[in-house]
């Protein structure tokens, strides 16, 4: 043990940990072990012939499928980056539109009785509906092109964002509001300089949930009606029994969703370092 710069404990004194919560500590190493174990099991199952190739191709074949998809050497003739780009354009344009509209609506619902009365019934009605249930209606209203898909993803993102912003308003304390009024703030200044910052941690959590909803809805929408996009690529491959491309597509979709979440967590640490510390 090297000496601690803050204390001059002799090396014979054993260092002990303080109190800790259940489940505290890093789980990264264990997670890496789980992933490696699953991959090894997959490799064994396919190479020892436990599962037929049609149901589960070998890991190497998935990699080969990835390489040929990057070149566009798959059904439909479009390369993986093009599918990926279309999916990203759809999900992010819808997500940003949802953030721009749902956050003000949610905050308004939190601070105004009238706004809550107006927006609560429609949002609470459509929120639990699966987006695929109203997709046919959206296609009838807005056609089959990009507008319909973006509206569908927008609706999927809107409800969790509005709910999060509305709940976030409750995180402000009455003392903080009273303090701001006592410092001469107007009602609008209180909303903008006190309530919105106080709600920000919950809004960011809502954004994390919303981008997840948006992503799942996007893939579903692309499976119903699209000529490009990751969801369409997977569906098209399944029509030709190309299990390797299906699995490769699923892995890409999963990895992208995971990267979204990592990005959101990073943004959270950067924007609300005070979360949970007051």
């Amino acid at each position: 043990m090297t000496s601690d710069p803050r204390g001059s404990a002799p090396p014979t004194v054993r260092a002990v940990k303080g109190y800790s919560l259940p489940g505290e500590g890093s789980s990264v190493f264990i997670s890496v072990f789980t992933v490696v174990l699953l991959l090894a099991l997959w490799w064994l199952a396919t190479h020892l012939g436990w599962i037929r190739d049609l149901f589960l191709p070998t890991p190497e074949k998935i990699f080969t499928a990835f390489v040929s998809a990057m070149r566009g050497d798959i059904q439909g003739g479009k390369a993986l980056p093009e599918h990926f780009m279309w999916s990203m354009i759809r999900v992010f344009s819808a997500f940003f539109l949802a953030v721009l509209t749902a956050v003000p609506v949610g905050v308004a619902m939190g601070v105004s009785r009238v706004m809550r009365g107006i927006f609560d019934p429609p949002i609470e009605f459509y929120r639990p509906l699966p987006p695929l249930a109203y997709l046919p209606l959206i296609v009838i209203w807005f056609g089959i092109d990009e507008t319909a898909k973006i509206i569908l993803i927008y609706l999927a993102c809107f409800a969790p964002l509005a709910m999060a912003a509305r709940a976030g308003v409750k995180s402000v304390t009455i003392e903080q509001i009273n303090a701001a009024y006592s410092m001469g703030a107007s009602k609008w200044q209180v909303i903008w300089h006190v309530i919105v910052p106080a709600a920000l941690p919950e809004i960011l959590t809502g954004m994390r949930i919303a981008i997840g909803f948006g992503w799942t809805t996007l893939v579903a929408a692309e499976m119903v009606a699209a000529t490009e996009g990751l969801g369409q690529m997977v569906l098209n491959a399944s029509n030709f029994l190309r299990t390797d491309i299906v699995i490769m597509g699923i892995i890409v979709i999963g990895v992208v969703a995971y990267l979204f979440d990592l990005l959101m967590r990073r943004i959270e640490q950067w924007l609300v370092p005070w979360k949970g510390r007051v």
Binding site: S182, A185, W274
Partner: protein, 264 residues
Amino acid sequence: MSTLEISNLSVNYAGTNGQSTLALSGVDLSMKPGDFVVALGASGCGKTTLLSCIAGFMQPSSGQILLGGQPVYGPGAERGVVFQKHALMPWLSVLENVEFSLRMRGMAKAERRAIAMDKLRLVQLEKYADYPIYQISGGMQQRAGVARALASDPAVMLMDEPLGALDALTRAHIQDLIVNLWWQTKKMFFFITHSVEEALFLATELIVMTPSPGRIAHRFQPPFSKQFIDCQDSRAVKSSPAFIGMREEVLALIHASPGAVDDQ
């Protein structure tokens, strides 16, 4: 110079099923610059209700509050408030918290920074200006709260048990600081506590409040804060026979009043 005149103030809280609670009944109080009024009493005696009315957080049922001859309606920057729990904005640094009122008023950045740094110096926090709120101690948070309330240069400082949650040593240190601040600024101070010792040490006018209905039962004019200004030795002031004598007198009155001590 503005004065604070409270006359015949009553607050009747509406409760459920038609019942109501008389939290304050016929309170009269007048303050002029340089007065340090401390309200002392057990929980439920109406001292926080009285402060909330002066701050403008609530409207009284009857009676009126005049500040500089003008009736008080709603909160305003001429009445600074320090809360029991700090109520600082954790998304702002210590300095940004202190300059909040000046920013709301639209003051230019350089000017408001200078004023805020000046107030932080008064509470000995200038070294912590750029710290986040959650990285400073409870005592520092309360001092930042005092600096924040001072920043808009209010006529009266309203302090709702600001030292109640602090340890005894920190508490004594901040008491000294508050007395010196009061003496330097010559503002009106209205301070709530349930510590008899703290009340005697700070007050130029001590009002003892009793519950159901909340009212002012006794008034004292302790001389100890001015003694501290002269000698700057709070332990000597608090251990003097006169201080201990008055402390026992106040304690005896509080214990004698019905309903004042229900949880000790």
